[in-house]
């Protein structure tokens, strides 16, 4: 192989290595574990000092919304009956009220409350409403 070709190959390998390094670095600093409520419960204190993302179903009767200061609190529950209190500050997505699954990202505090810094709603297939029969 000619010298020029060698240089090209080495250059290419450097680029690939750099991209790999960036991905590794980005991954190290910003990956978070994604748990359901009961999985988080099982991990317990192990999950407390790191960034975690939790998905759950909001118990609608527990939702408290302070519209003036944008503070929200509610309780997640799941099928097994596990519950998790969540505290969040910030604007709430419009689809929150109709959402089935809500995802929060933040830290699980030693007070047993999940302090969320991000709250989002995931229902991608829900661009469709269901028609139900209403007899009038």
């Amino acid at each position: 192989m000619a010298l020029k070709q060698m240089r090209l190959v080495i250059g290419g390998m450097l680029v690939v290595a750099a991209i790999g390094f960036l991905m590794f670095q980005g991954f190290q600093t910003s990956s978070v574990y994604y748990y359901t409520v009961s999985e988080l419960e099982k991990k317990g204190t192990e999950a407390m000092n790191r960034g975690v993302r939790v998905t759950g179903v909001v118990d609608k009767s527990t939702v408290k919304w302070d519209a003036r200061n944008l503070n929200m609190s509610f309780t997640f529950k799941d099928d097994s009956g596990t519950t998790l209190p969540v505290a969040y500050h910030g604007p709430v997505p419009d689809t929150f009220d109709n959402a089935e699954n809500v995802v929060v990202e933040g830290k699980y505090g030693s007070d047993g409350v999940f302090h969320a810094t991000t709250l989002f709603v995931q229902c991608p297939s829900k661009y469709e409403a269901q028609v139900t029969e209403k007899k009038s």
């Binding site: 991209i19 960036l22 998905t55 919304w65 699954n101």
Partner: protein, 663 residues
């Protein structure tokens, strides 16, 4: 009527399958009559599909609520444009829309190329028909858009409020036109592999289709960002959501493709690579359609319901195996005649650009599907958010910008490093001065300064191409400067159109760097008469206004905006309440200037204290992203416009060319 619609897609499927089989058999057995029959059947299949879409529009417009799809996406009082666009407002309809656009491309391709490429066209037709048949199969067997309800509801539920926006008219059609359009170059690539005609015929034949698809996809991606910005209310235009990523992935490989095919046309190199890129693009289009349909990414647990997933993955696997198999089978014919001679050459820089684009694509794909992979292999689901994408993709895009800046300084075939460095002096000095000026103006964040400097550098070298070319042409022909510029572009549309797109990317880069590094956000509760500060703006809450129509109720929080003590106008962020869907929509008020956007939402309504809580953002330079979008279309149209005649290179142009390339 709904049953006729269903019949149309069933017949369409039959015609597509017939066309596929007949084309393949006809061309293999050298029976021109069968080939002709296959081509006609393709036109029939496409026509039937378009007919089905028209039938769906008829049902939507006549509010035939007995049809489930109509009842779930429209309602009485819904505006005309939303009723029309409801065709792509939900799953079944959007798959029909996908098929319809493919049908449109099929008809255009067959009509445009019917008398050429007698060997390639039957194969390409059968690949187009394979894709159409797949989508029609999904419609016929899994998601019948014409399904009837057992009763007739008095009214429908209406389109999802998030979709009730002007963006609905332009964003999805653009994206679909882009997505589906890449089926055409893919089909011709497969035809080239099958027939073994691996010169650049397939690339030249499909160049126009690739450019059309690329332009629409670029617009689709940008319009998606604009729509999110205008509607979602969080102050940003890109959130690295899996669905957004799905639209970006094929754009990246397609961008690499339109660059590297130039290397093949000029130098006969990178043949395998081009095949891989177009196969990847097509694969990512199908994958993206699958991602957005199945919901598999956002929540692995909740979407076991969707039976579309296995169908799409099965089809994707089949097509990829077929394509990769063909590439391996033809590997000898795909060998390059030439090699890259110099590191300082266009070929090498295009190669680097390719690696970077594919690198970004890989990183984004990895970040998007990692939660699934990690769950399969470790049992723990690990996910990455926007920081991962920003940290990984940001530097790679920065490097891409730099490479783009080098392009005008490097010619085909290569130059000595010495020469290259000599041409680098002026842009480097200009960039240095610009960076210093920015620093003195208060840009102190290192990454922002690097980002802006790269934009400056690329902007400088690219604009210089136009300036030097115009000057040289003026000297040679005596035309006035404007005439000289127009003729310069006119004589070499592909090249200068491409450079215009590069300038557009510089605009977009400026907007992204500005808005990523210098955004501000303030949240405050205000009673009427009170004000809040953000940057040099003062926002005074004047009072609440209300409004309502059949579909929704609107609340406006009116704000007087003052800038540096001067009143500049009233803005009204809104909350809309959609009665049927029982959903709130937060609509931001945006005051846009070239320097920055003031972006305000109503984040909370406190009825007890009669106050509204506003969140205000300042997003610097965002307007440049949209301006870049407009320039990008213009540049692509110039570059893609078919040449009216074979262009001879007159002496003057050769002079201008040499003067502007300088190498």
């Amino acid at each position: 009527m709904a049953d006729i619609g269903y019949l149309l897609i069933v017949l369409g499927l039959a015609a597509a399958v017939y066309s596929m089989v007949t084309s393949v058999y006809g061309v293999s057995a050298r029976r021109p009559a069968l080939v002709l029959s296959g081509r006609n059947a393709a036109l029939v299949a496409a026509g039937l599909t378009v007919g089905a879409a028209l039938m769906m529009e008829f049902l939507l417009l006549t509010h035939d609520f007995n049809v489930r799809y109509v009842a779930e996406t429209t309602q009485l009082g819904q505006s005309l444009y939303l009723t029309i666009t409801a065709l792509w407002g939900a799953q079944a309809g959007s798959l029909l829309f996908w098929s319809t656009i493919l049908a449109g491309y099929t008809i255009s391709v067959i009509l445009v190329t019917r008398n050429q490429h007698r060997d390639l066209l039957p194969w390409a037709t059968s690949v187009l028909m394979l894709t159409l048949a797949f989508f029609l199969t999904v419609l016929v067997f899994l998601r019948n858009p014409f399904e009837r309800l057992t009763f007739i509801p008095a009214d429908g539920t209406g389109l999802n409020p998030l979709l009730q926006h002007g963006g609905m008219m332009i964003h999805p059609p653009n994206l679909y036109m882009g997505f589906v359009g890449f089926t055409v170059p893919f089909a011709f690539a497969m035809a080239a592999l099958i027939t073994g005609r691996l010169d650049d015929t397939w690339i030249r034949t499909t160049r126009i289709w690739t450019m059309i698809a690329w332009t629409f996809l670029s617009m689709g991606v940008l319009l998606g960002g604009r729509w999110a910005y205008d509607v979602l209310g969080w102050g940003g235009y890109w959130g690295w959501d899996p669905v957004e990523n799905a639209s970006l992935l094929p754009w990246l490989t397609a961008t690499a493709f339109i660059h590297s095919v130039m290397v093949q046309e000029r130098k006969g190199m990178l043949k395998i690579w081009n095949m891989i890129l177009i196969v990847a693009t097509y694969g990512l289009v199908i994958f993206g359609t699958f991602l957005t349909r199945s919901g598999v990414i956002s929540s692995v647990h909740a979407f076991a319901l969707s039976n579309l997933g296995p169908m799409f993955l099965g089809f994707l696997t089949l097509v990829l195996l077929m394509a990769v198999g063909l590439i391996i089978y033809r590997r000898d014919l795909l060998r390059s005649k030439n090699q890259v001679e110099s590191l300082v050459s266009r070929e090498a820089s295009f190669l680097l650009n390719n690696m970077l684009m594919v690198g970004v694509c890989f990183a984004v794909l990895w970040g998007t599907i990692f939660p699934m992979i990690s769950e399969i292999f470790t049992g723990d689901k690990i996910t990455v958010g926007p920081p991962f994408f920003n940290k990984t993709v940001g530097p790679i895009f920065a490097l891409t910008m730099l490479v783009m800046g080098f392009i005008p300084l490097i010619g085909w075939g290569g130059a000595t490093t010495e020469k290259f460095l000599r041409h680098l002096i002026r842009p480097a000095i200009a960039t240095g001065i610009g960076a210093l000026a920015l620093f003195l103006l208060g840009v102190h964040q290192v990454y922002a300064l690097i980002g802006f400097s790269l934009c400056l550098f690329t902007g400088y070298t690219t604009v210089s191409e136009f300036v030097n070319g115009t000057i040289a042409r003026r000297r040679a022909t005596g035309e006035n400067p404007f005439q000289a510029l127009v003729n310069l572009i006119q004589r070499n549309r592909r090249r200068y159109g491409g450079y215009l797109v590069h300038i557009a990317v510089v605009f977009i880069g400026l907007g992204i760097v500005g808005s990523q590094f210098y955004k501000q956000e303030v949240t405050q509760a205000l009673s009427p008469g009170e004000s809040m500060q953000i940057g040099d703006y003062t926002l005074t809450y004047l009072g609440l206004q209300q409004d309502s129509d059949l579909v929704k109720q609107d609340l406006y929080g009116q704000l007087m905006v003052s800038q540096g003590g001067q009143q500049v106008g009233v803005i009204s962020p809104q909350q809309e309440f959609f009665t049927a869907a029982n959903q709130v929509m937060t609509i931001p008020a945006i005051r846009s200037t070239p320097k920055e956007d003031l972006y305000v939402i109503v984040a909370g309504i406190d009825t007890q204290s009669n106050s509204l809580t506003f969140t205000a953002h300042i997003n610097p330079l965002v307007m440049w992203i949209w301006l870049g979008g407009v320039l990008l279309i213009l540049g692509t149209i110039i570059a893609a416009w078919p040449a009216a005649r074979r262009e001879p290179a007159p002496v003057t142009e050769a002079v201008a060319e040499r003067a502007s390339t300088r190498i």
